[in-house]
């Protein structure tokens, strides 16, 4: 498009397939099927007719994760339309990340936030699933709620991190760092070059 003189504003972001700004619908002339893709990751083809979706006007609930439980009630409370899913699979077909969105929604309806979180992890929130959904579910917002519920309530907490935080609080490393801060470049270089490198264990 830029080669034709268009300057992109909406519909352009990371240009690497990570941000979901360039959700696009297109058709190849002579083919009945409406296809979807990320503009930055889709080569132009002969006979291609396309339109970029500047944004998808989705509902985004506001919630306090701490007050919620990782279950179906939490998801349905904020996104009741979730239960209207027709299992038509239009969402999966539209997904430019090739995610099985239908399975994510099925897991969400069951209240299996762990599975919903895991399966939706590669979601870039481009909104193409929601534009195709006949039940008007906003799959990507349901999915991020599932992931954050998983992250706050289900994922096991790290013991070594808590240990380290305790040590930091007690000031255990303050002196060591302060000592390094006062060192000359020569002294630091000497220490740096003598570092023991942790070995890779396969």
């Amino acid at each position: 498009m830029e080669h034709l003189g268009y300057r992109l504003l909406r519909g352009c972001g990371c240009r690497s397939g990570f941000c979901g700004a360039c959700a696009t619908v297109y058709r190849i002339q002579g083919d009945y099927r409406l296809r979807t893709g990320l503009a930055c990751q889709t080569p132009v083809k002969e006979g291609m007719v396309f339109s970029m979706l500047p944004f998808h006007p989705a509902t985004k609930a506001r919630y306090n994760l701490k007050e919620l439980q990782p279950n179906a009630q939490s998801l349905v409370r904020y996104y009741p339309e979730l239960m209207r899913c027709l299992q038509c699979n239009s969402c999966s077909r539209a997904c430019p990340q090739d995610l099985q969105v239908i399975d994510i929604m099925a897991a969400a309806m069951r209240g299996d936030v762990s599975t919903a979180a895991d399966l939706s992890f590669d979601c870039i929130m481009c909104g193409l699933c929601a534009t195709r959904c006949p039940a008007e579910i906003v799959q990507y917002n349901v999915a991020i709620l599932a992931r954050r519920l998983y992250g706050t309530h289900v994922a096991p907490r790290s013991k070594h991190l808590q240990e380290r935080l305790k040590e930091m609080k007690s000031g255990r490393y303050d002196q060591e760092v302060a000592k390094l801060m006062k060192m000359s470049t020569e002294e630091l270089t000497k220490l740096y070059n003598a570092r023991q490198i942790e070995v890779e264990v396969a």
């Binding site: 990371c14 941000c19 954050r148 991190l161 930091m168 490393y173 740096y192």
Partner: protein
């Protein structure tokens, strides 16, 4: 995602015959290479390699700054062009008496640093406005893949992390900033955990951590290879949950200062309507990110469409000192084929996981876990000096990253589990990185320098803070992998906290553009043409032909 064939209608792009012949050699040497321990560079070897091949040292890359607080210092030409540049507004003609919006803290930039700053300031009870030039979350943070460093395991310590950072940066980093970086790191990870960000963990909660280039301990925490995306979408979700006022498609195009030189807010431009808005703020935080889209020395970039370094000219005109603006980080592994996505990031994590770098004959030439400046230099040497690169049909050159080794080292299926974005990126074009190596070449990745800050995110201009890639001094002349995601959150939160507390006592006078008038005078005295304007806001990739045709009809808005 499954490993089945890509959706049928997608175009496939396959390796040329010449490239295939080289791949045969890569396969032939693989078994031997996997046993081989490639020696690390000695300090003097590394120094020589950098001076000979790193783009920073190429003659003609830098020039002396002729105006402003850093007069006499060296700057990369492309950064110099935006810094020594006129404002997009004419200070005499614009009316700033009418205040459109008032707030305690104004955050300029909607990436990771901006979101972290907004959350931290909001928590202090400050009224916060966050403005951004594209969508909220459109940023380099979203694209960061590999991981975030934090010394939180028993064999590691903040002091060890400190030493790695200093050595990586060539011992030029500012000690107090490095101290802040490494000592806040564990609490940043906890903060992310509490917000529900998902990290790669063992079943008992132990973080899966890896090496990055130049680390002495495995302290890279990752969320598959979507680490930045996971952090960004989580922070964005929380900012919306907290009801913080977000203004999209509205970049700041100039700061406001009062008669005493205090920063008192910024002028925003609505890119869709071309309307201006004056935002009066007690304190202002610049979190505008990096500048890959300036394409220094013509390099492609891994960066976001909006990475045009807008914060630097704004801060510089207001009187901020800059630091390390004469150095740019080139990521060793940008895509060289397919050319359609050339310059895009191949995460360093691939090397952490065991993929080796090999030349056209299937030979290794560098230890893959050297620091980025060294690996990039070694690749340039291999391709340019030793002529051992692989040519693509489109005329680019690169070396192989032997990705099939990952499944061989880590076990079948691990590439897909640990680097799904990379598998997908190539699968879209019909290349299976689990079976075939991929071709890479260095790409512009990170602005090592920026606005000089202290450990609270403060600049030398009162009431003006800077956080994230726009800031300078933390990483010295070279940043380590995983310290950028850390930096944006450490200094984003520190700046947010500081700005919110300061906003309670800050008393600014009426807004002026005195600093712009003064800067314009200096530019004139130095003989700079009034035609050059900044901030750039967005790069322009239209072809010359298209632009000439359009010229006759052009309406000059934000471009």
């Amino acid at each position: 995602m499954t490993l089945e064939q890509p959706k049928q209608w997608r175009t496939t792009i396959s390796y040329s015959e010449e490239m295939r012949r080289s791949i045969e050699k890569v396969i032939a040497t693989r078994k031997e290479r996997m046993k081989q321990a490639f020696p690390k560079l000695k300090p003097e070897e590394k120094k020589e390699l950098l001076h000979k091949y790193h783009p920073d040292y190429k003659p003609g890359t830098n020039r002396k700054i002729r105006v402003g607080p850093n007069k006499g210092d060296l700057v990369v030409n492309e950064l110099g062009d935006i810094i020594e540049s006129h404002s997009r507004i004419n200070p005499e003609k614009i009316n700033i008496k009418k205040i459109d919006l008032q707030t305690d803290v104004l955050v300029i930039g909607g990436g990771g640093a901006g979101a972290a700053a907004a959350l931290a300031a909001h928590k202090q009870g400050a009224r916060v406005i966050l403005c951004t030039k594209l969508r909220f979350g459109d940023s380099n943070t979203m694209m960061a893949q590999g991981g975030i460093q934090a010394a939180d395991k028993s064999n590691d310590s903040p002091a060890t992390h400190y030493l790695d950072v200093m050595g990586g940066g060539g011992y030029t980093n500012i000690p107090s900033l490095v101290q802040a970086l490494v000592t806040d790191a564990p609490s940043v990870i906890e903060w992310l955990e509490n917000l529900g960000a998902m990290f790669d963990k063992e079943s008992d909660g132990t973080f899966v951590t890896m090496h990055g280039g130049g680390t002495s301990r495995k302290r890279m925490h990752a969320a598959r290879d979507y680490t930045g995306a996971e952090i960004m979408r989580t922070l964005r979700d929380e900012v919306i949950n907290q009801g913080i006022h977000v203004i999209e498609f509205s970049p700041a195009i100039e700061l406001l200062t009062d008669a005493d030189g205090n920063c008192v807010g910024a002028m925003l431009l609505n890119m869709e309507t071309d309307e201006y808005a004056v935002v009066s703020a007690k304190t202002t935080i610049i979190a505008t990110g990096g500048s890959g889209r300036l394409h220094c020395q013509g390099f492609p970039t891994t960066n976001h469409y909006g990475a045009t370094g807008d914060g630097l000219p704004l801060a510089y005109r207001a009187g901020c000192r800059l630091a390390f603006v004469d150095t740019i980080q080139y990521h060793p592994t940008g895509v060289a084929f397919p050319e359609l996505i050339s310059g895009q990031l191949i995460t360093e994590k691939m090397r952490s996981l065991g993929a080796q770098l090999v030349n056209v004959d299937g030979e290794r030439f560098v230890n893959e876990l050297e620091t980025r400046d060294a690996v990039a230099s070694a690749i340039i040497k291999e391709c340019v000096d030793r002529n051992k690169g692989v040519r693509t049909p489109g005329g680019l050159v690169g070396v192989w990253l032997d990705t099939p080794q990952i499944d061989m080292v880590k076990g079948p299926g691990r590439t897909l589990r640990l680097a799904p974005a990379m598998v997908r990126q190539f699968k879209r074009f019909g290349i299976d990185i689990i079976k075939d190596p991929i071709l890479i070449y260095p790409t512009q990745h990170y602005q090592n320098g920026g606005v000089l800050i202290d450990e609270y995110g403060r600049t030398n201009v009162p009431n003006l803070y800077v956080a994230g890639e726009a800031a300078g001094g933390i990483h010295g002349r070279n940043r380590l992998m995983g310290n950028s995601l850390l930096d944006i959150l450490v200094f984003g939160r520190r700046a947010g906290l500081g700005a919110a507390q300061k906003s309670k006592s800050a008393t600014g006078g009426p807004p002026t553009f005195n600093h712009v008038t003064r800067f314009h005078k200096e530019l004139k005295k130095a003989g700079y043409s009034p035609d050059r304007h900044s901030p750039m806001i967005l790069p322009d990739y239209r072809t010359k032909e298209a632009k000439i045709e359009l010229e006759a009809f052009a309406v000059k808005g934000w471009e």
